[in-house]
Symmetry: C2
Subunit: 151 residues, 2 copies
């Protein structure tokens, strides 16, 4: 963690942040899916070849979980974050395949103070994940809660 | 896997299914969050006590990942599933804490044939997760794609 603590005021509307990238290996795709999403096209390369997707693809939950990890590493861990009430419009646009390097970006799309808690503010973000060919693979939106800067 | 393969026709509107339950242990909450959501209130019981949540809570992604696993075990693995284009309205309503037993339920809220692919149908589901006190902890909605019954 470096730099000052980030508060609600540090996520103004229009703010965009590159969150970093992650390369999905075959072993990692299979390990995640064996635990949480053991469908043949996520865990069995041979069965996946004959599937609708014509090859192994990552669970959409895996693509999202890596987004969360990059969020924490990039800004949540050094922010006054209070979690999130939920997410909207998750779209798995293009399959993520073994060897793909996925880059993630966040943009603030709205922000407002909490109506009930004056020391808390809400930030609405849109996240987008893009593969090494520039194809969008996942988008999602949602509100995060952050403490407001004291004083 | 038991019983016949499930097709789009087997998920009519109004169909409700108990998907089973899962008890979230402290070790499991921490293991998931260390990998994908390492915020103090998900990975550090002591820090969590002094947090907004007053104790360790599961990552919302963990609650959803277990939903996915139960879906696969209960019906997806024995269905002609073709995955999902996305999800909407994920709401983490009440924190999931160590020792909580969460029960999951699915209901079909809409269904339609694919416009472009006559052998595929879409099922819109609502999933709800409830803790051992009957409190809703998570809800989400989304479309799933299934092959239609041949012939």
């Amino acid at each position: 963690m470096t730099g000052p603590l980030l508060y609600w005021e540090d996520f103004p509307v229009g703010d965009t942040m590159e969150m970093g990238s992650h390369t999905f290996t075959e072993a990692e795709i299979i390990a995640f899916a064996r635990q949480f999403d053991p469908q043949p096209f996520h865990i069995d390369p041979e069965a996946a070849k004959n599937s609708f997707f014509k090859g192994l693809i990552a669970s959409g939950w895996h693509t999202c979980a890596i987004a969360m990890r990059l969020m924490v590493d990039k800004y949540v861990a050094r922010s006054a974050s209070l979690g999130s009430p939920g997410l909207d419009n998750i779209r798995w646009v293009t399959p993520v395949r073994a060897g793909d390097t996925i880059s993630y970006r966040r943009t603030t799309t709205a922000a407002r103070p909490s109506e009930s808690k004056p020391d808390i503010g809400l930030v609405h973000s849109r996240w987008e994940a893009v593969n090494q060919r520039g194809e969008s693979v996942m988008t999602m939106e949602g509100w995060g809660m952050f403490r407001r800067r004291p004083g």
